[in-house]
């Protein structure tokens, strides 16, 4: 039972059956997979990249890659969720690499004056995510991966370990170190 929870990232439904149906092109199964994984993948990607526009571009690439390769996926190797996040991680890495090649420096969000009522709240939120992005950018790659998967995508320690092909102990250590370091990097009121 414990193993099963480790091997699946979607305990809400029978992942194996849904993935098999999705491989046959069943729309409901594809929709279920999308509904389940989209928020996690987006949050993970958004935490890794500098802007929401970049996050949207990369998330799109991730899901198109998933649908392109869904037919070749088999349960003999990685669990489906780990496979999804491996694709996401690869897309993020290649996007960042492309950006570096182009010499584009990622710009942080700037507060755009808005006349809406919750203007003040939005400014504060954007600032926070910007600071988090900047701070996680200073972490070593392994710690950054763990933080974005754990607190961005919302994966458990076991799921993160599967997605990164690391041991759970390793993830626990990286998580602890990363949070402790981020505390020193992020100024708090």
């Amino acid at each position: 039972m414990a193993n099963q929870s480790v091997d699946t990232l979607a305990p809400e439904f029978d992942e194996r059956a849904v993935v098999t149906a999705a491989q046959r092109g069943e729309q409901q199964a594809l929709s279920d997979l999308y509904e389940y994984y989209f928020p996690k993948v987006y949050r993970y990607v958004n935490a890794r990249l500098a802007t929401s526009e970049d996050a949207e571009d990369v998330t799109t690439e991730v899901f198109l890659r998933i649908i392109d390769n869904l037919g070749s996926f088999s349960f003999r190797g990685l669990p489906f969720g780990a496979w999804v996040f491996r694709i996401a991680r690869n897309e993020v890495v290649s996007f960042v690499r492309r950006q570096k090649v182009r010499g584009v420096t990622a710009e942080l969000h700037e507060a755009i004056p808005d006349t809406s009522a919750d203007y003040a709240l939005e400014i504060e939120t954007q600032f926070t995510i910007a600071v988090v992005r900047e701070a996680t950018g200073k972490l070593p790659e392994a710690q950054r991966q763990v933080i974005t998967l754990r607190f961005g995508a919302g994966l458990t320690v076991a799921e993160t370990a599967r997605a990164l092909n690391k041991t759970e102990n390793n993830v626990k250590v990286l998580q602890h170190k990363a949070i402790a370091k981020l505390q020193t990097l992020v100024p708090r009121d």
Binding site: R24, S52, L64, I129, I147, F151, T156, V173, I179, Q183
Partner: protein
């Protein structure tokens, strides 16, 4: 061993992971801290920070438009993928075809190597050797491509090669009738050339050499393989015939008739004539009475012409015999 590479996390890391897991499950932070009273002080800061981190990341949701449009693209791509034709099954013999192709390449390379090796090493081959056919093919090509004097030269070489082969085979007692027939054939071909064109001095020397060597070799063959007597005689006759033909029309000769000893039978005793018959006649005169005259005749005919100055004195004639004598 696995523990060596996967050490347990430190106490703080393990406690934080436990506490964070409970917080992830939706438990209130105060409640979680109450479960770890000894560590609540430092744990509180970490849990608060990780909670803030989570909130910060989730506080930047994707736009509804983006989420919906990506979903429609995702579903449409899924429909397309399902409609796409199944990949063609791999042809069942594809692998065998690959193996066959690679084998044929390897085989071709091996054949080319063998042919090359055969041609390269064929020079000293004798009948019965694996590469003898390469030698014959080489000779055939060489003969076909030659014209005029060079063809005469090639024909000389062929005759010399046959004599040499019989010498090698004879030393093993392995001469066959076909080997003798080959010598006979080449000698006749040489005779044909002798009839159509005048050999120069050098060619006549070579012819004499062939005649002398073949006399020695054929005598040896006759001794070792008496059953081949008819073939030996035929080959000897062919060589004699060539020598006769070529030497019968000598260039302006000098003291021409100086030597006409032709006392063949007791070749062993008399110096001038005994020169050629050499070992065979000397050793076993009784056993090969019929052959001896033939051989001696050959020798006589070869030697007879007074031709070049070197040949005039009798010691000059003795040279080939002397060279032939020690061979056995």
């Amino acid at each position: 061993m696995r523990n060596f590479f996967d050490p347990r996390p430190g106490y703080d890391a393990a406690v934080f992971a436990e506490a964070q897991a409970l917080a992830d499950d939706g438990l209130d932070r105060e409640f979680v801290l109450g479960l770890f009273p000894d560590d609540a002080e430092w744990l509180d800061g970490l849990l608060a920070f990780s909670g803030g981190l989570k909130d910060a990341i989730s506080a930047d949701p994707p736009s509804y438009y983006f989420e919906a449009s990506l979903k429609s693209r995702f579903l449409a791509a899924g429909r397309e993928a399902a409609r796409a034709p199944e990949p063609q099954p791999v042809f069942p013999f594809a692998r065998m075809r690959t193996v066959a192709a690679s084998m044929s390449v390897a085989l071709s390379a091996a054949v080319v190597s063998v042919i090359t090796l055969g041609f390269v090493t064929a020079g000293s081959a004798v009948p019965g050797d694996w590469n003898y056919s390469f030698k014959l093919a080489n000779e055939r090509i060489e003969y076909t491509l030659s014209r005029g004097d060079s063809r005469v030269d090639v024909q000389f070489r062929l005759a010399e090669a046959r004599v040499q082969e019989i010498r090698v085979l004879s030393s093993r007692g392995d001469v066959s009738a076909s080997d003798l027939a080959s010598l006979e054939r080449e000698a006749r071909a040489l005779g044909d050339l002798a009839r159509t064109q005048q050999f120069d001095d050098e060619q006549l020397e070579r012819l004499k050499g062939i005649a002398n060597r073949s006399a020695v070799v054929l005598n040896e063959t006759r001794q070792k393989q008496p059953g081949l007597e008819p073939e030996v005689a035929a080959a000897a006759a062919a060589v004699n015939s060539v020598a006769t033909t070529a030497l019968a029309t000598p260039p302006p000769a000098t003291p021409s008739a100086t030597v006409t000893p032709t006392q063949t039978p007791d070749a062993t005793t008399t110096p001038p004539a005994s020169v050629t018959p050499t070992p065979a006649t000397a050793g076993t005169p009784a056993t090969t009475p019929q052959a001896t005259p033939a051989a001696s005749a050959t020798a006589n005919q070869v030697v007879t012409p007074p031709e070049t100055p070197t040949a005039t004195p009798s010691p000059g004639q003795a040279t080939p015999a002397a060279s032939a004598t020690p061979t056995p």
